[in-house]
């Protein structure tokens, strides 16, 4: 499937429009939920850290530091990607699956259009912007942590900001973005596969979306584990 996606290209003028359409659907359309989720998760992480380390001997900047580490390394890339597997993934599977069962994919093929390239390539390209979405999630997650800990009185603003600058490792950022790019590829391809090769009618489209979510999120968790083992352990 991947091989066919990168052969026999659709006319560029058409492809360009499709890519913008996908960016709108997959990336822009996800900003709201990503903002909401990451802000609240950041807040929760900060509060729980604060409660767990309620010890006057520990430095005050620890909350900021711990929030940054958890949000940047794990919550933003991995948890948001799993949420995306539900949102973007099931959207992709159901839209391609519907095209399959209503013979729209056959219609493309009859016209001599490489349906793999036409449907999947723009999704892969638009998800190249996925790291921006994750960066945005990181930023809002830390902001959420800041608001929660400062306004609930767990940490001072100064301590928190010092904490998030503490012991900054470039390699951690590289690790995070490697993960993010792999997740983006998984988010574009596994749901497409499940839509493309489904059989049956409308009911099966729903089933295919379910199965696709299970697969996409499992693969994301597995990749997360492997990449973490390889790069951090």
């Amino acid at each position: 499937m991947i091989k066919y996606t990168f052969t026999k290209f659709t006319k560029w003028s058409v492809l360009k429009k499709l890519i913008f359409q996908e960016i709108d659907d997959l990336i822009i359309g996800s900003i709201g939920i990503v903002a909401f989720m990451s802000f609240l998760i950041g807040g929760v992480v900060a509060i729980q850290t604060a409660l767990a380390i309620d010890n006057p001997l520990l430095p005050g900047n620890l909350i900021g530091f711990a929030t940054r580490q958890s949000v940047v390394l794990e919550f933003a890339p991995t948890l948001i990607s799993i949420i995306m597997a539900g949102k973007v993934g099931s959207f992709i599977t159901s839209s391609i699956g519907t095209m399959r069962v209503t013979e729209q994919i056959d219609a493309l093929e009859v016209m001599g259009i490489n349906s793999y390239n036409y449907l999947i390539f723009p999704k892969i390209i638009s998800l190249l912007l996925y790291p921006f979405l994750i960066t945005f999630a990181m930023f809002l997650g830390i902001l959420g942590g800041y608001m929660a800990s400062v306004y609930a009185g767990f940490s001072t603003s100064f301590d928190f900001i010092q904490g998030i600058q503490l012991d900054f490792k470039v390699f951690h950022i590289i690790y995070t973005y490697i993960k993010t790019m792999l997740f983006a590829f998984v988010l574009a391809t596994i749901p497409s596969y499940h839509g493309f090769f489904m059989k049956g009618g409308a009911l099966e489209v729903g089933k295919a979306s379910n199965i696709s979510f299970v697969w996409t999120s499992s693969v994301i968790i597995i990749i997360n584990f492997i990449v973490t083992q390889l790069l951090l352990a």
Binding site: Q104, E109, M111, I113
Partner: protein
């Protein structure tokens, strides 16, 4: 003209299409008829290369339809129009954009020329005031017309219609049939139509092949089909009360 020679296609060792040979003539509406499940759609998908045949050959005006010969295939694809059983319109696009789609993909015309051409075919299939509607916002009969318009917008030499009038009321069904027939004659297209509707058979059956369980058991014209003694055909043709009456009156005369 499309010629098929002994083509067969199996799914899981069950022969769905069994050594069918036939000639589909140019400028005529060639009908493939048979009961539901007899293999009409599979046969059509084989003709189009959407399904790979197990054996036999398919010739488009003498040129072999060979999936591996990319230049022949991609050339041929531009000359093929297809109306699917469920219309298969792109539901993310308006009616106008659906019809413009093949033009945008394959012609080098300017945008305004493409739109002129699209409006021309929209008019040809008698559609009005639907340009900016989405397929889900128009009736089934209109969807069929849009599908026909999209299929003919590039002036195809071959037109395939899979049950173009299923799900339509009898009057609209006949209008759609006649439209396909007119277009076929007007542009001298080789048209292949799947149907199990006897009205269509009588209206536009220039040439008919009759399938039973994947085998061709009869071929002829709509005149011949009324007068054949073949039991299976009679069962099919006269399954409705209406056609039984037609036969009775014919015999009386």
């Amino acid at each position: 003209m499309i010629t098929i020679n002994k083509i067969s296609k199996s799914f899981d060792n069950i022969k769905t299409i069994d050594k069918i040979s036939a000639v589909f003539e140019k400028g005529k509406t060639n009908l493939i008829i048979g009961q539901s499940g007899s293999g009409k759609t599979v046969l059509m998908k084989c003709l189009l290369g959407l399904l790979d045949i197990d054996s036999g050959e398919i010739l488009y005006d003498g040129k072999k339809f060979d999936k591996d010969n990319i230049s022949i295939i991609s050339n041929l694809r531009k000359q093929i129009g297809m109306v699917f059983q469920g219309s298969a319109l792109f539901d993310s696009m308006t009616v106008l954009n659906n019809i413009l789609f093949p033009l945008r993909m394959f012609s080098d015309k300017t945008d305004s020329k493409m739109i002129t051409r699209a409006k021309e075919v929209i008019k040809r299939v008698d559609l009005r005031d639907v340009d900016n509607k989405f397929p889900s916002e128009i009736s089934g009969g209109m969807q069929k017309r849009v599908a026909i318009a999209r299929a003919i917008v590039l002036n195809p030499r071959y037109l395939f219609c899979d049950e173009p009038n299923s799900g339509l009321d009898p009057k609209t069904a006949i209008i759609i049939d006649k439209l396909i027939k007119e277009i076929t004659v007007e542009y001298n297209i080789t048209t292949v139509i799947n149907t199990h509707d006897m009205n269509s058979v009588m209206e536009i059956g220039d040439k008919i092949i009759f399938l039973v369980e994947g085998k061709k058991i009869w071929e002829g014209t709509n005149q011949q089909i009324l007068n054949t003694d073949d039991k299976m055909i009679n069962d099919f043709v006269y399954s409705s009360e209406l056609f039984k009456k037609v036969k009775l009156t014919q015999q009386k005369n």
